[in-house]
Symmetry: C2
């Protein structure tokens, strides 16, 4: 067998030649104008365990009341000293106050509306439709950088890998944003329209996904396991200016994003013999990066 | 907020009452006749790191030549002392001889045919079709307990979470089964029909999915990381009889599996307000268990 490692490296790092470009190569060729800055008030920085850091982008399209609560909880340092107490394989990591007894700060709503979908017509002109069939909805696509599904009247965000939502109890309880989870497995799309999605991980996802799985029902950490302590959760906009991270996402209405999506659907680079002929919406992750000058 | 943990526990453990049953409750009610034994020669037991154990079911439906090589490699103890050297987030764990210099045992084929799909007509009478649309194929379903996709003429296995395949270099190289990988993220369906799938993890998946991610390109472990040593890989049938594990899978042509799949598509238990109206084939994992008397 030829040397697998060096071949794969060559494939990953080489410039496009006679063969077709890879998705990563297309993204690398995107003009600066195709990248959209993410505002500092939309970035949540979570530090836990032995100094691990995960950065979450808050949604500006969905779940406004949940996101407002989350901003207030971060500004009040409410999660400091809380924990990651649930890690269920192929499902979610969940964090917050496991005792559920810690009082919420003043100004944080205790109950929230069911922000599970939005009126499609109100956002239609900003949606990019994807052509592949979907197992759950008539149509899928992207709204201002977020994966969405649609039927005739409504549009809703999708539980793809890395998406962050607000835990709740039995319906119709809608949670309050104090208990959050991130998807660490195959997209649990049956949760769509049943829980408020509030954001997604933009950096450090591997620190969530590699956590030890909980040994109790639903992946709860058992008495023989140590819940992972949360050191701090901060809004980037609450940090000193020089400490703020800067991220960008690829504009899902740009020409280069369309090129990228097409290649995710049908790869013709050297590894692939049979192009897929389509792509599940969660297999078209929206490219994110640190702002180049940051 | 009511106590989330105790409520979720109650939900998971309670018997079906006025509300609809959960998928787990339906599986728990399956008659013994709906469970199919997995033969000892189809189980691969892999021990690595500090005594972690993963058990893999080898395919009896696909990739016969690859699986024959894998059985011989295990019987020759070829993987003992090899390593897990690649862990790419939301993609794969890969193991084998990273140097690619270790000679293959006598009788192990160095190159193999492209066993990526089979003739649909030859297996049609054993296929259970699922009704949901799919982003990649006209039809999906199960063949003797394995998730499959189909077009008019051919049928192929699917890269769901936990599936195991045989690494290869650039097409048309088909690999030889010595380098294996397992899916640890959202189903990378673009690999379907491009790599030989040879099995799936039936126990211990969390030991793969929680491994530290590699810091180099493609998730390769870097010089500052220690590759995870493989202690042993054995066929269950090569072990003393009393040391052999015994597993069963739910018969995908049984009535109870059909009930289970319907509920995966539309959940009406207490948590869910909006049933999904469908299920991606990889969100209908085939139930597996230890044989009750074992």
């Amino acid at each position: 067998m030829r040397n697998l490692v060096s071949l794969l490296f060559a494939l990953a790092l080489s410039a496009p030649g006679a063969r077709a470009a890879t998705p990563a190569e297309i993204v690398a060729s995107a003009p600066a104008s195709a990248w959209t800055d993410i505002a500092a008030e939309d970035l949540l920085i979570m530090e836990f365990g032995d100094g691990k850091r995960v950065i979450i982008q808050l949604s500006t399209q969905f779940s406004d009341a949940h996101v407002a609560n989350i901003r207030k909880l971060a500004t009040a340092h409410w999660w400091d000293g809380a924990s990651i107490y649930r890690v269920q394989d192929n499902y979610v990591v969940q964090w917050g106050d496991r005792s559920e007894k810690k009082p919420l700060p003043d100004g944080v709503a205790k109950t929230l509306p069911e922000e599970y979908s939005v009126d499609r017509k109100a956002v239609e002109d900003r949606v990019t439709i994807m052509p592949s069939s979907d197992s759950y909805a008539k149509t899928t696509g992207f709204l201002d950088g977020w994966p969405v599904a649609m039927n005739a009247g409504t549009l809703w965000p999708i539980h793809c890998y890395g998406m962050v939502g607000a835990g709740r109890n039995l319906a119709p309880d809608a949670g309050n944003g104090a208990e959050l989870y991130a998807v660490i497995g195959h997209a649990p799309r049956h949760l769509d329209r049943n829980i408020a999605l509030v954001g997604r991980v933009v950096e450090g996802m591997e620190h969530f996904s590699s956590l030890s799985r909980g040994t109790q029902a639903l992946g709860m950490y058992g008495p023989d396991q140590t819940a992972v302590p949360i050191l701090s959760v901060r809004l980037a906009s609450d940090l000193p200016r020089q400490a703020q991270p800067h991220f960008q996402m690829l504009d899902t209405r740009s020409k280069i994003f369309a090129d990228y999506a097409r290649v995710r659907e049908n790869r013709h680079d050297a590894f692939f013999a049979v192009p897929a002929g389509g792509a599940d919406i969660c297999n078209i992750p929206v490219p994110m990066r640190r702002r180049p000058d940051s």
